[in-house]
Subunit: 203 residues, 4 copies
DNA sequence: CATGAATGAGTATTCATTCAT
DNA sequence: CATGAATGAATACTCATTCAT
């Protein structure tokens, strides 16, 4: 009974948190951090403003949670898919496949990721940076292994990992920068892979 | 006399504007857009707050001018240096040389460029996007010529141009993301060139 | 059974109420009325916030009850002790003895009494004022009798009674005002008695 | 010219500050600290809310300034009048004369002084306490001189000084406590003087 | 009876912008 | 041209109170 009670409450809490983050991504995605208001997020989530503060301590905390929770999901799936592959080449492919799928399917998250990640890393300091670093380090590990296995030419793995992440972001940034003639046939994923793979492959 | 008067006035105006933008870059660079205040910028520039509004219409306008004026300078110099080179390879080298020199020498501008360019492109809409596009299109033109000359493999030139710009930004972003073990010998410029050149060169 | 049930319930209710008031005095004493929160009181009392409202109608009511219940106790005991004395002189002594003992033994109540009684009398209106008046009137009655018996010089008994109460408060206020060189040998009770007695005694 | 300009500006500033404090005393006096709002004070002062913050940093600062500025004036005048007297007896009389005149003539200040001084001493800490102490110490010095001159019986001068101040407050507190039958002929000043003087005089 | 999640009115404070001098 | 005092709309956050479970 206690267990059920706890489970129920936990479930409710998790549901509310998810609801809030969903609303937050929508509002932050549309308005940007500065212009987004807590009232707007609460209204979007269909709850009272005060209720938000039962689940998150501040606007900052909401933003951080909304951005990183999704970012973590994306990274976790990419990691899983990469581990299922043997070669570095296929690991890179898998990583790109997952990331492109994620960013294409979640417009709001994409906006937050592309336009505010940079600023938030600097302003929010620690937690955001740590996450970014963690993800980069994982990719760097994969690339380093590729170098040691002779699949890749010798390179600074951390820099290459960062470059790969920024390339993905960059391709999506083209949209927001209002690039013209967006060729509907343009395959960003393939483009990034070709550029990066040719850039780092041995020989 | 009238001419001279006008010239004097124009000179003063230009001097004031430059002073303001310099101050703005310092304040925006240190605090980020949202936390920077017009009071702070005025104080830094050593003029009254009201005076700012004689030269710029709004905080937004100041930010935009501070960011783009420097961005334009960087691009203009890069363009000049690129035109002095014959091969696409050397044009790319020249572009990177200028951009890295600029960003290394101006910490404040670097911060604005890396952390707020993305957000501002989306939020400020037109003017910022147009500029970004213009720069990308110039680089795309160079790359397209390279493709046609057989120096580069066939590729989406606009995407490649964007990728190059984002790679430069990405290398500097590593700093702000608090990347560890920043190898003091790490040569970001060379790294970006190698990655990109190998990524796009023919064969 | 019903009787027992009622008695049990009443006992429980009284116990709860006492518990709540104890907690309230602690919280109000530490934080002051405005900064004290109902959550804090509930936590201190070890019950849920909603439960508080089963026993008291509002934060105000809790404050009022916490302050006056103790004030009443203090007065009741002072009254008893005064009645056990024959002369006005000894009645005054008894009153001071009880009041000083109470205030010295209950730091939290002391704080509420000294720092917020004044404000609350005005803001809470009726009930608090009535109580204050009742206590003052009792003391005034004693003093008036003293006047009529020739023990005290002719005076406005109500004013003198108020003065005595304020003097007691004033001595304790010295602490909160951060008075220096608090002589550890200083006997506030004796001091107030000497001042007041000399001030009101006949001749 | 510069001097005039400065003087003008200073005059304006002082005028505004006085205006604000006047309004603040009215609002704080009527509602008490907690219920008073900054909006109300601004409205009462006939200026915009933001303007308040050009002159005072916070609601707390306004309250503190409103209370202490008047308190200081009262003390300064009392001090002057006391110094014009030779005997301790007349100095005490002078002090009471000034204080009663002040408190009778400024209902709003009286309310703040009587009902919130205690709480604020504790909550605002340092500045308020220091002021209270300073005033008490001055009076204590006078009383101590009286003791040494044989005019007063030996006593704890600081305690007696505090007692005198609290007696004054106490007499006015009677009003707010809704004391009945306020004899219109009752002379509070004389009453406090008699009580205190008889209480402390030699013999 | 007891709970504590939900509410939303209420408030101090900031800051871009204006305009009288 | 230059100033900076004045403005007031905008907003994050709090907390007493309620009520469904």
């Amino acid at each position: 009974m206690t267990l059920q009670g706890k489970t129920k409450r936990q479930a409710l809490t998790e549901f509310r948190e998810a609801e809030i983050l969903e609303a937050a991504r929508k509002v932050f995605g549309e308005h940007g951090y500065a212009s987004a208001t807590v009232d707007l997020i609460a209204a979007e989530a269909g709850i009272a403003k005060g209720t938000l503060y039962l689940y998150y301590d501040s606007k900052d905390a909401i933003f951080w949670a909304a951005l990183t929770s999704r970012f973590r999901e994306m990274h976790a799936e990419a990691r899983r898919e990469m581990e299922a592959q043997a070669s570095v080449r296929e690991k890179i492919r898998a990583s790109l496949r997952v990331r492109f799928a994620f960013l294409k399917s979640d417009e709001q998250f994409l906006r937050m990721y592309v336009t505010e990640f940079g600023a938030m890393c600097r302003l929010q300091g620690g937690p955001m940076q740590a996450l970014y670093r963690e993800v980069a380090e994982h990719m760097a590990g994969v690339l380093q292994a590729g170098v040691e296995a002779g699949e890749l030419r010798p390179l600074n793995a951390m820099a290459a990992a960062t470059a790969l992440m920024e390339l993905v972001k960059g391709v999506f940034a083209m949209r927001f920068a209002g690039m013209p003639g967006q060729d509907p046939d343009f395959d960003g994923e393939q483009f990034v892979f070709d550029l990066f793979w040719n850039g780092v492959a041995a020989q």
